[in-house]
Symmetry: D2
Subunit: 327 residues, 4 copies
């Protein structure tokens, strides 16, 4: 380890510390409560992890607390669907356009019956339909295995959350019947919705999300294990959709303010991807009204500014900005 690397690591660690301390000040937002299990999360938990394309990880806070991946899974499941049946086949069933609607909207593209994009529930259930069509009863094992390889460890599963979602997910079941009516998914509605509920109940940590993000950032290769996990072309498509559609009905503001592909889940996690550079994982269970983690959004926004991650950043804004937040 040479001196320069040490000093850059020190700098990154100090930035992470500062971002963490700023994030702690955010106390608004509320736990998801549509199922009892999610409401049991510890509201103060907060963790930030950054995994680089070189295989290093920098972290602060509660980065080993497990939570359900929820909608963050949509990005990775989409990546696998593109790998399995190809971009064109996937595009026939689900679009790439931000909808401007809530994540659980039941509006489809009028011309094609397609869900607007794979990041809203309708699109994610369509992706589950694609994977179920291909793998049948093995679809969940396939997902779990790939997610685990991206995280670099065997991920767990929250049986209680899964059962709760399965019992109360009437709206998602309605969406699936509409997709069947529109010829978008096959008739195995119950199995497809079940796969979707299972996929959302996979347990991850902020560190896992950082590593999964770094795997996308590194052209599909996990930079910690050097294992190829995702298809190259699928990774590119996934990042594009995460940028335009990842943060719900917020895409223009996200591109304006933050400018990096990301995906959030009501479990409190967010994954961010800076192509060829790094993956970011955050965890904090208090959500804003759009369902995004309040501290997570703040942390990724600050990191983008501080590290000059925005796609169109012209300057190294430097620590002056961060200082102004801390003052």
């Amino acid at each position: 380890m040479n001196v320069e690397k040490v000093s850059r690591a020190d700098e990154l660690n100090s930035i992470l510390d500062a971002v963490y301390r700023i994030g702690l000040r955010y106390r608004d937002g509320a736990l998801a409560d549509y199922i009892p299990e999610l409401a049991k999360a510890e509201p103060e938990h907060f963790g930030i992890a950054v995994a680089t394309a070189q295989g290093r990880i920098y972290a602060v806070g509660d980065i080993e607390v497990e939570f359900t991946i929820q909608s963050v899974s949509k990005a990775f499941a989409y990546c696998l669907a593109v790998e399995q049946i190809g971009r064109e086949q996937v595009l026939r069933r689900v679009g790439v356009e931000p909808s401007g609607d809530a994540f659980n909207a039941i509006e489809f593209d009028p011309g094609t019956n397609r869900p607007y994009n794979p990041m809203v529930n309708a699109g994610a259930i369509t992706v589950a339909g694609i994977l179920h069509e291909r793998f049948g009863a093995d679809a969940f094992d396939f997902l779990m295995e790939r997610f685990s390889r991206a995280a670099g460890r065997r991920l767990g599963f929250d049986e209680k959350v899964y059962r709760s979602e399965a019992q109360t997910g009437h709206r998602n079941r309605a969406i699936a019947h509409l997709l069947l009516a529109g010829g978008i998914i096959p008739a195995a509605v119950d199995a497809i919705v079940d796969l979707y509920f299972r996929q959302c109940s996979i347990l991850v940590t902020a560190a896992d999300l950082a590593r999964m993000g770094a795997t996308l950032a590194s052209m599909g290769e996990n930079p910690m294990t050097d294992e190829q996990v995702f298809d190259l072309q699928a990774v590119r498509d996934t990042q594009a959709v995460m940028l335009s559609c990842g943060m719900y009905d917020y895409s223009g503001n996200w591109i304006f303010d933050v400018g990096i592909p990301a995906k959030s889940g009501v479990g409190g996690g967010i994954v961010g991807v800076v192509n060829r550079q790094l993956g970011i994982g955050t965890y904090s269970p208090r959500l804003d009204r759009k369902g995004n983690s309040v501290r997570g959004v703040a942390a990724i926004t600050l990191l983008s500014e501080e590290l000059g991650l925005h796609a169109f950043d012209c300057t190294n804004v430097g620590s002056a900005l961060l200082g102004s937040f801390l003052s």
Copy 2:
């Protein structure tokens, strides 16, 4: 001039030639006809120009044909509004969210009365309102002078197009009255709409647009004249809005397929910006149903693929792809 540079220039020229030849095959679309002057354009005109951040220009086809800038002006006017009154003040009056509606939609953000973004007419009229508030009767001269410096030459003005727009622009006048009703623009409705019609009637060429794009790509400095034309922060904001809202109700697909900030106009022009690398200008007056130049969209899409310009491109796709188009 060393050997490597020569070979790269040759390569870029041959790519441009190939893209041009592919583009010529597109014969669909129709001339804008809402005012007689636009319907007089020569449908077969087609030009592509690329200006690099190093100050070189590569071009093919009808790159010196003049046409009215129309909505391409919205991007540059927005840049100037941000420079003049600051990001926050501009954000109070016009958002940065793709609307999913047509360019001449009259829907505003329900909570704030703001137009969704500066790339739809309502947002561009709001920007005109900001500039008129600041410069009064001199607003148009200010715009013209800055546009000209970005293009590196004194731009012209199409009096006939201007008069035609002024006579028939009832819908834009309606939008302006709605903006006044919502407290978004000041009471000088007629002068503001007039400024907007004038700004749209500025004459440019594909080469102008390439240079104007290169000026945005080079942190606001015209790389041909080394003159600082636009504010640094404003350039960043402009690129972000161009990426998410520049190609009308098409933002997600644009980010997915092309992935570079761009803005089109019904005059037939498109400007593209690849941050820190290059500006692209195209001209071809036949428009698709969304009002984008058919050949221009094809050309920029091909250039993005061939030159690996997409923000999330993982590979150098190489000439194989282009070959497949040509075969």
Copy 3:
């Protein structure tokens, strides 16, 4: 029977004949084809029946051809729901506002999650939910018995249509899951949707619909059998909803042009009600794009004009008008 009555009967018969002959000229529209059974109807079938509050029936054409009642059942099922649990309880679950949307829309009243009215599928499934909650497995027998008493004969049932609808009704199943998600119907989604499919598969004739309409017109008492079939208050509410919401996304024009409560079904039937005066039943299976029987709409419109049935009619338009149609 005195002379005057004879002459009025003659007059009504001759008007019916004229209306029938005009109706025969309408050859546009298409058979419903979303299930194979409906597409097997004889396109030229056409019948008109008028049953008076005095218990007489006047008829012309194919008035004894049986067809499935389909959405015409929604009006009578609503009447029974109001009778069973009262106006206020029903209003808590389904509104009385025309939706402006198609009959199978999945939009609900944003404030309350209620379907807009009982004449769209979502509202009719809600009504089925109310009746299923009250009668359980006996709900269909209850409906069938009351419908039969209103028609004055034991109605039949089309098993094939029922099975076809049950197999393909994914959209209605989706709607039911949404209603469950919104707390509007109880959890027995499958049984409720099944009841709705059954109710739609009851077999009626144009004469049956005329008698059922006359029963509503006669304050709930079947004027042929002198049997009280429907609750008085419920009859009033049903007529009001039929007037404002009965003819799909067409309510204002219906009130303007025809002005009498009516309900159509994709089986080709329409029922009309002229309070305290008469019921009208028509059958012709070719439908316009809104799903209303083309000849049925024409016949009821002509009858309204010719007999001065419109609520706001100021004159006896007389046979001049009809003559002008025939000339």
Copy 4:
């Protein structure tokens, strides 16, 4: 005068007294405040007048307080437009469908560019365009003369309200420009909007509105003066549109609960029409959120119930109901 008539008059007076006393209990709602003059009304003012087709008037409360007619004028102006250019010509420019939108909505029928109906501002401005096209600068005198004959006295005009509306009516001006853009009104936008503002500023009393309503109810003949004021056919059409579209985005509930044609204005007035029987005028300036007079709606609803005015009423509900309100 025979005994029976005396007793019926006594009965009607006592019902009016009771309705008035119930109405007084409503203290919610707020004065219109978009122009200062409207906010100066006395909030407690409340008057109810009923004018019969036989030329008698029954009244209680502040029935001689003058207020601006505002949107109540839309019904009568529509009646005159139909008279002047005929039903079909008017239908080509403005529909008869409730819009479900607010009164000042800027949504038009997508297929035809027509405003949805003449009771929303866009439709009323279109009607003003029709009358201006026909009468030019004399259009307002024409309106004023006919309104006055319907009221049976020379009506006044509120210059201050007119000026205030003219100064602040940016949204209505925007609507007019959109109508011009859509080819619905001629180019004299300013004169047409001015006519509309003038028409809204005519001064009436509750008694005037009752007489104007009675004129509609009596086939266009003022039953007090025996003068024919409105065209027969136009009266029918006007009543139909008042029923389906008169009470803003509330048509289905109005038909369900009240069932008589009516039109309200933000000045606090409501006119109701019971065909061939009577006209109702109410005044109370406190408005609900839809812009309808709170006490006026209550009064007309109670009168409808108490007098059995609902089109589908099956019973004479009798004083029991009113008693229950009073208890």
